[in-house]
Structure formats: C-alpha cells, structure tokens
C-alpha cells in the first residue's frame, strides 16, 4: 500500500490526482466543520456579493455564503457518487464474472443483453429510474448505480476472460485446485486491479451524472447545497453575479479531473510488471 502510494507520487498524473482527491476527501470529512457560515442561513442585506474578505467566494441570491455551501455540498456530491459507483461496480462485477465463468451460450446471451441495455444512454436510464422511484438523492444514487452496472459487467468480463486464459490458471486446473481456490486466489487478485482503475475513473462520471441529475431537478432538492443544484439555481441570476455559477461548476470539474487523474495514475502503478 505504502509502495503503491510512493510510486503514484512519482508520476505527475498520479501525484496530481492523489493531491486533488486527497483534498476533496478532506473537504468531505471536515468541510462542514470548517465552513465559516451556516450554508442555509439567508441574509437579505448581503445578496449577490462578489468574492471578498468577508465572503471568500461571494454570496448567492439569498445572501448565503457560497464557500460554506460548497463545503457542505461536497458530502452530498462526492460521497453519493462514490457510493453509487461502488454499488454499480459490485453488481456489474458479479454479472461479468458469472458470465465469464459460465462461458458459451449463456455468456453470449448475458453479454448481448448487457449490450442492449447499454444502448440506452446512461443519463436517460438514470432519468427514467429516478422518474419511477421519485426525485431524491438516494434514488439518484440507485439510478446511477444501475446505469453503471452494464458497463462494469462488460469490463469485468473481459478482464476475467483474459486472466482465465493465462497459464497460471491452467496450471491450477491441471493441479486439481478447487474452483473456489482458482477464482479466489489465482484470478481475483489479477482481476481486481483493472476494476479498481475503471471504478476510479467512473467516480468522475458519477459525480458529473449526479450533478447533472440535480441540475435537471431530479436529484438533490432545494435547499440542499448539492453542486449541480447550485449551478441550476444560479442560472437565473447569471447576469447579476457570474460567481454564483462559476464556483460550483469549477468544483464539479475539479472533482472529475481529480478522479480521472487518479485513475490514470493507478492504471500505471497497479501493473505488476511495470
């Protein structure tokens, strides 16, 4: 673990990704505690303030402090995105592994179905599911998890199949090892690394998707300080104060860039032969 961190820091991409994601996690953990103001406290006298000494990032249409709202909103945005990705990965990994394990016609049938589901754009699928379950952050989480599962199933299956072809798996079969040992000890350690990489990159997508759902009014609901929702609300006041829309947009972008960089860095580091 220490070794992986050390090697991550050696590549510029990995180091930058690690720093950004580290900062984001820090904000997720201590953000609400260090926020200078109550994120939902309205102050009619200090509306549309530009960034300054009193309000570092300015204030919004109700005079709420944008920095405090961003610090509080990190939990809603990042945590839910990570959870949604983890859930989607789990479901996808199970389906992909089972498909690779069964092989033959069942594998083909499962994968064709997964392909078919993937022909519904993930945002549309998420929209339909949220529409069915009702507007809320939790439902958005399930929707994103379900929308990600087919893609993860495909990735897991192709990784599992390529590992399955390796001679160390053949050697284990020829040795007479049990199926549980082959899957658990020989295959899994070699399958997990690429899946972690894929998952990290998908967190970036999940953050974007989650913010988009909120932006469209189908994720987090007012007065929550979810970042996508903040952008959506700020649109109407764009001509009064562009800062209101700029900061949450940049926050979403920074998180997505951070996880993308981290994923690319991990991809290089987790390759055992490099």
């Amino acid at each position: 673990m220490i070794e992986i961190l050390r090697r991550m820091l050696r590549s510029p991409q990995g180091a930058l990704g690690l720093v950004i994601v580290g900062l984001i996690l820090l904000v997720v953990i201590v953000g609400p505690a260090v926020a200078p103001y109550d994120p939902e406290k309205m102050a009619p006298l200090t509306r549309y303030k530009p960034p300054g000494a009193q309000f570092w990032l300015g204030t919004d249409q109700y005079g709420r402090d944008i920095l405090s709202r961003l610090l509080h909103g990190a939990r809603a945005t990042v945590l839910l995105a990570v959870l949604a990705t983890a859930l989607g990965t789990l479901v996808g990994a199970v389906v992909g592994t089972v498909s690779a394990f069964l092989g033959g016609r069942s594998d083909e049938a499962i994968m064709r179905t997964v392909d078919a589901i993937m022909s519904i754009p993930s945002l549309l699928l998420a929209l339909l599911i949220v529409n069915l379950l009702g507007k809320s952050s939790l439902n958005a989480l399930f929707a994103i998890a379900l929308a990600f599962a087919p893609g993860m199933a495909r990735v897991t299956r192709s990784v599992a199949l390529s590992v399955r072809k390796q001679d160390y798996v053949n050697a284990a079969i020829a040795r007479g090892e049990s199926a549980a040992f082959i899957v658990g000890r020989e295959m899994l350690p070699n399958v997990i690394a690429p899946i972690i990489v894929e998952m990290t990159i998908r967190v970036a997508f999940a953050v974007m998707l989650f913010a988009t759902l909120s932006f469209l009014g189908l994720g987090a609901q007012p007065p929550a300080s979810e970042w996508g929702l903040m952008v959506s609300e700020a649109r109407r006041f764009m001509h009064l104060s562009p800062w209101m829309i700029l900061w949450p947009s940049l926050a979403v972008a920074l998180v997505a860039i951070g996880f993308n960089l981290l994923g690319d860095g991990l991809r290089d580091v987790l390759n055992p032969r490099s």
């Binding site: 390796q166 053949n170 040795r175 350690p189 070699n190 055992p272």
Partner: protein, 540 residues
C-alpha cells in the same frame, strides 16, 4: 576480397537512461565486402538488433554514438536525414524477423512493394506494379498477379516473407540486413526462405549482414561470422575457423550449448519389458463449436480438429519427444492429458481408465504434471515464489513431505536457485530462472510423468542448455518420464528415447530415436528432417 561495402569501425552506442548511460554496443568493428555474408550471432540482449538499427540510422533520441559506420566510404553518422531517407531501401535494404508484423495490415502486398519502386526509382505507379509482379515471380511466388492484390492476412507466413525479401532486393541495394528472417516461421518454410536467400545472394552478390541467434543456421549460410556478447564482438573470422577452433570462452560455451543430435544426453531407453506408465488410446480433440448462424444458413461444419485419434504410450522413466509445427496438435494433446481440453477416447494410467476430466483425481494429478512454454504466463504475477511453490506441497502433501519454508528452499535448490528467491515475485527473475521455478513446482509432488510443452523455446540457447541439463539430471535422480513437446528436432534427438511426429492433428510417425535415420518414415517426417540445418561442424 575487394573494398568493403559496409565498414563499421570502433562503433559504440549508449542509451541515456534516468540513471546514467547504459552501453548497448562497445567498440564494434566489422566489414562486409561485396558477395560476402557476415553472420552476426548473439543471444537476446547482446546488442545485435541495436547494431542493425544503428546501421539503418533508426535510433531513439536517447542514443549517444562514437566511431563510424560507412557505406562504400560514406560515413552514415555524418549523413543528413534527407540523404539517409534516400539511402534506406535503395542502397541498404532490410528484412525483418516477423512478416506478420512488419507488413501493414491495411495495405495490399503489392502496394507495399511498389511504393519502394516509386520512391527510389521514380517509376510511375503502373510501371511499379508491373515490375512488382516480376519481382514477386522472381522470389518464387506462384501467382504474382493475385499476390500483389492480396492483403497480408490473406497470405501465409512464408509468402509474406517472400514479399518482404522481394521489397528488400527491389532496388538492387549494395547491402541488406537480415534480422532473424526465419525465426517466426515453421521449420520447413524457414528452410525454403533460406534457400531463396542463398539463391538471391549468389545472383546479386549483395553484401549481407545476417543476424541470428542460431549458430547452426549461420554456419550453413555465412562466409564470415562475428559473435556478439553484451555489446562487444568477442570473436570474428571465417566460419570454418571460428566453429572449428573457437578462441573466446563465450563462443566456446555458445557452441557447446547448441543441441546436436549425435551428442546424446540420456542413457539408453529403459527395459522394454516394463509395462507402460501411460497409454493414450485414440484420443481426439475438437475445437470450436458449430456457429448457430452457420447452421441456420446450412453452412458446412467449421469445427476445427485439434487431434485425430492419437494413440501412444510412455514407459516409466522414458523420454518421449513430440515434434511438429505450430498448429499440429502437440499442445492440444498435452492439454487433453492434463484435463484442460475435453477429449474422446481414453487414457490409461497405472491400470486405471480415464475418459474425462472427472476421472482425473488427486492421485492422477499428483503423478502427472505439466510445465508450460511461457513462464511469464504460467507463474501468477501477484504471488511470491514461496506461495507458488508451497501450493503443490499443501495440495498433495504427504506426512513425510514438510510444508515449511525449508521445503520450499529445498525445491529451489533442487533446480539450482538460491533459497532466498522464495521471497521474490516472478517479475524479479530472469526468463530462465522463472522456468526453473516452474520446473520446481512440477517436481514438488515427485510425479511419475512430467509433460514439458515447448518449455525451452522462449529461452536463449545457453539458458536452454542449462535447463535441459537440469531436466536430464532430475530424470536420472527420480526416474521421471517426460513427454517432451518441441519444434526443435535437434534438441529432441539429444534427449528423447522415442520420437512422435505430429502433422495437422495426426500422429504420423512414432519411432525409436535411432530409427530416424532409417528409410521407413512418413513423407512429412522426411521433409522435416531434410529442412533442419545440421549443427555447426565443430568439436564441442
């Protein structure tokens, strides 16, 4: 001997790395005159390919050079890039190792030949295609007109290499570099390409630098030979002289490592009275399944046969060699015998009938072990050597076999590796060391039969020799029988008691090793024997 065409004097090459310079070539001096073939022999990493890139002026930016490389007096190190582009392909040609990767998959073969004629000889496209056809006919391609229009995937390996050779000779260059041009080909095809090389070389008198790891091959085609080791030319001279009286210690080791059928490494076959250890009875393997849509459209069955009713038997302590080209079904049989392929027919082992995977119980698995070709693939990259070796001990462990660290250390020492390697990961070992670990794993259960599937074909000749020596030693100590699968006829004739020849899924011959010089053989076996270059004429 006239003026040298290619003259390399005091040439050194370093590559800049983050931790300083690493030397690739060290003070290399060579000369090749018109009509000469210089064989450059070395193992992987010796710098022989770096020299080819240096002559072709195709070096990465990190390269630092010293000395000179001259083509008929013109120093290529001092020649501008534009001039080099005009020299490449016109005055120096090159033939590459693997025709399946050195030809562009999305361009017709003819285009890849004709473009050279257009570029260097100023022909129009029409003229170039017409001349290209002639060139292809000249290198022995039967249907040049069709071949011009074919894409690489529509031609065989031998046909593609002929196109590459025709391209190299197309502008009548003064010098051609041949970089292991037969290594990627089957034995018989390789022989034909070699004959073509000899014919063209004699006809054109081109100065040839023939790079190879194969001493036997070089001794047949070269007039001069240079041996390269760690970037240094350790010895060079006339072929007869170097092979008969090698002066350098490395050359001597290299020559000694070359497999020689007359130099037997094992004792005579065990008593014929013994009951067979394993009998393979009419084993067939079919690959692939009938495509659903093909059936719908009433297509013929496209099922590919891996083995057709192969029968053979192995006696205790016997080494049975199986030879054949790639795709002949050698490995398919190995996989069937270890439960990795479904098969029809039966295998009898120690009096028991085995007709499928379910019959292969723990006892059978313990007695029959397999070693694969590529140790990179057969050792799990995320397990330490200790984990890899302790697994068979735990699996087949008997009370008398200890399972502790000492047992793993003993296994490693048995294959002449230090016990401290137990804590390493496979990628920290060299190719030969990894293969020794794979051997140690196979021998951990003290098996009666070990199936060796091309286990030395990824290794250098000197490493191969030490692995073979180890195997022979283990066979003497434990009386283990081997099923030794290889494409190297010379190697298998050194160690096998009997040899089986496979061709396109069929077992065509199964004879005593001594009977290979006899007359009563399948035509394929005879052409295989004729195609194998006789090893260098020298005392080992």
């Amino acid at each position: 001997m006239g003026e040298p065409i290619l003259d390399i004097a005091g040439y050194s090459l370093d590559y800049a790395t983050p931790s300083g310079f690493t030397r690739a070539l060290d003070d290399v001096t060579l000369a090749i005159a018109r009509g000469e073939v210089l064989g450059l022999v070395g193992e992987s990493g010796s710098g022989k390919t770096s020299l080819a890139w240096a002559i072709m002026r195709h070096l990465p930016k990190s390269a630092r050079e010293a000395g000179s490389i001259s083509l008929t007096g013109q120093d290529l190190l001092k020649t501008s890039e534009a001039e080099i582009e005009a020299i490449r392909g016109r005055r120096i040609g090159m033939v590459f190792q693997d025709p399946s990767t050195s030809l562009n998959p999305t361009l017709p073969l003819g285009e890849q030949l004709a473009e050279v004629l257009v570029r260097h000889r100023g022909l129009t496209r029409r003229q170039a295609w017409a001349e290209g056809e002639e060139r292809l006919a000249h290198v022995g391609l039967k249907i040049p007109q069709q071949m011009m229009r074919r894409y690489p995937h529509e031609a065989s390996g031998g046909e593609k290499q002929r196109v590459v050779i025709a391209t190299a000779f197309a502008c009548q260059p003064e010098c051609i570099i041949f970089d292991e041009p037969t290594t990627a080909l089957d034995v018989i095809t390789a022989r034909q390409i070699l004959d073509l090389f000899k014919a063209l070389q004699e006809e054109t008198g081109v100065a040839s630098l023939y790079i190879s790891h194969d001493l036997a091959l070089v001794s047949q085609i070269a007039s001069k030979v240079a041996v390269i080791h760690r970037g240094k030319i350790v010895e060079q001279g006339g072929v007869g002289e170097v092979f008969a009286r090698p002066r350098d210690a490395y050359t001597q080791r290299l020559l000694a490592a070359v497999p020689r059928p007359d130099h037997r490494l094992v004792e005579a076959a065990p008593e014929t009275g013994d009951r067979p250890l394993v009998e393979v009875e009419k084993v067939s393997v079919h690959y692939g399944r009938k495509p659903f849509l093909g059936r719908l459209l009433g297509r013929a069955n496209t099922q590919f046969t891996g083995n057709r009713e192969v029968s053979l038997s192995i006696k205790p302590g016997e080494i049975l060699g199986i030879v054949g080209e790639s795709g002949s079904g050698k490995s398919t049989l190995a996989k069937a015998m270890t439960g990795l392929n479904r098969f029809e027919g039966e295998i009898r082992f120690a009096g028991r009938r085995i007709t499928g995977l379910s019959d292969m119980d723990r006892a059978y698995r313990r007695e029959v072990q397999i070693i694969f070709q590529h140790p990179d693939s057969s050792l799990n990259p995320r397990q330490r050597i200790r984990e890899i070796l302790s697994r068979p001990l735990a699996l087949y462990g008997e009370p008398r076999v200890r399972k502790d660290a000492a047992a793993v250390g003993e296994l490693l020492e048995q294959v002449r590796l230090p016990a401290s390697y137990a804590e390493r990961y496979p990628h920290q070992l060299s190719g030969g060391e990894k293969q020794r670990v794979a051997i140690a794993r196979a021998f951990a259960s003290r098996p009666k039969l070990v199936i060796c599937d091309e286990i030395t074909s990824a290794l250098d000749v000197s490493v191969q020799a030490s692995v073979i020596e180890l195997l022979v030693d283990l066979q003497k100590r434990f009386g283990t029988a081997y099923l030794f699968i290889t494409h190297d006829l010379n190697l298998v004739r050194q160690i096998a008691h009997r040899i089986a020849v496979m061709y396109r899924g069929d077992l065509v011959d199964l004879v005593d090793v001594a009977a290979l010089s006899g007359a009563d053989l399948h035509p394929y076996t005879r052409s295989l024997l004729a195609a194998v270059p006789a090893p260098a004429t020298a005392a080992a």
